[in-house]
């Protein structure tokens, strides 16, 4: 058997070094560990750093007048002087089985199809996409100004459109922490497909659809 020449060894060393370098760069940019990359997990990464920590989110209110209902004080978190709910206690979605491995509080957003999406929703949408959902996200977190513009686009009224566009400042699109947060998808069929796929979501999917008869592309914790 012929011994490898210096050239062969050199080329092999060069290719190895370049491969390691490429993996390191890819790993840094994608926020994935080598193990995740080799396992084929190359999708979007949830952003626990909360790049959009406060968008004027709607505070949770169950209608009891307490601003928090049965949720205890330990389940709240204050960011920039505003109080939000944490993710649900004993959150089944926080188990590593969904591939995200992000436990506890679900702050932050994840960019999906160019739109920032609340992480508790992003987790489910990305799981659905890995499991066959072929739709696209057309809107996620919106600022008050963006909500105003959205309403102008829908009905021409910047202060909201009954049944199709919530009043700026009160839309679930302006929240990022469960139960606030919402997305719009490309079509009613896409929304239906997403909900069907999420029936198999590990744990229980918290995304609901269909509560707004005139807004069939909208999904949120309540469907509103």
């Amino acid at each position: 058997m012929a011994r490898p020449t210096n050239g062969t060894i050199g080329v092999a060393a060069a290719l190895t070094s370049m491969t390691v370098g490429g993996l390191l760069i890819y790993s840094a940019l994608k926020g994935k560990s080598f193990a995740q990359i080799f396992a084929g997990d190359t999708g979007e990464t949830l952003d626990p750093a909360a790049t959009i920590p406060d968008t004027g989110a709607v505070l949770f209110d169950d209608g009891s007048g307490t601003g928090g209902g049965t949720v205890g004080p330990d389940d709240k978190v204050t960011i920039n002087g505003r109080t939000y709910l944490r993710g649900l206690s004993g959150d089944s979605n926080a188990s590593p089985s969904d591939g995200s491995g992000l436990p506890g509080v679900q702050l932050g957003t994840t960019i999906i199809d160019g739109h920032p999406v609340a992480n508790w929703i992003a987790r489910e949408v990305l799981w659905a996409r890995r499991n066959g959902w072929s739709g696209t996200v057309t809107s996620g977190v919106r600022s008050v100004a963006e909500q105003r513009q959205a309403c102008i686009n829908v009905c021409g009224n910047p202060n909201g459109c009954p049944g199709t566009c919530a009043k700026p400042g009160s839309s679930n699109h302006q929240g990022i922490l469960y139960p606030t947060g919402a997305i719009d998808v490309g079509s009613e069929d896409q929304a239906r497909q997403l909900i069907l796929i999420l029936r198999s979501y590990p744990g229980v999917s918290r995304l609901r659809w269909g509560a707004l008869p005139n807004d069939r592309v909208h999904l949120s914790a309540t469907g509103r």
């Binding site: 080329v11 790993s27 840094a28 926020g31 750093a49």
Partner: protein, 103 residues
């Protein structure tokens, strides 16, 4: 005659390494107001770039006709990846992130 016949491969690789590393650092340390990350690049980015160009340098000893253009392509890619959103921000008033924030 190939375009690489008169190349000094070592100079091409070194220049490409400087351009790539410089643009990576530049995009990272830019203030967030102009799309940068406002801090040093992720260590994995730095080590990854270093490993890549060390490999290219070794390859340059044995296959300069491959290593040179490859290094140049990497440098051009880095310039485009960081430069295009930066130019868009500067001239069109866009608010693109320059590069992708390392997770």
């Amino acid at each position: 005659m190939a375009i690489t016949d008169n190349w000094n491969t070592e100079a091409v690789i070194l220049t490409s390494a400087i351009v790539t590393t410089g643009s990576t650092f530049g995009a990272s340390v830019l203030p967030e107001s102009v799309g940068g990350q406002g801090g040093l690049p992720h260590p994995r980015l730095i080590f990854g770039t270093a490993f890549t160009f060390i490999g290219l340098s070794i390859l340059g000893q044995f296959a300069p006709e491959v290593a040179g253009p490859l290094a140049l392509a990497i440098a051009v890619t880095a310039m485009t990846y960081y430069g295009m959103p930066l130019l868009d921000n500067a001239f069109n008033g866009a608010k693109n992130p320059v590069g992708r924030k390392p997770q």
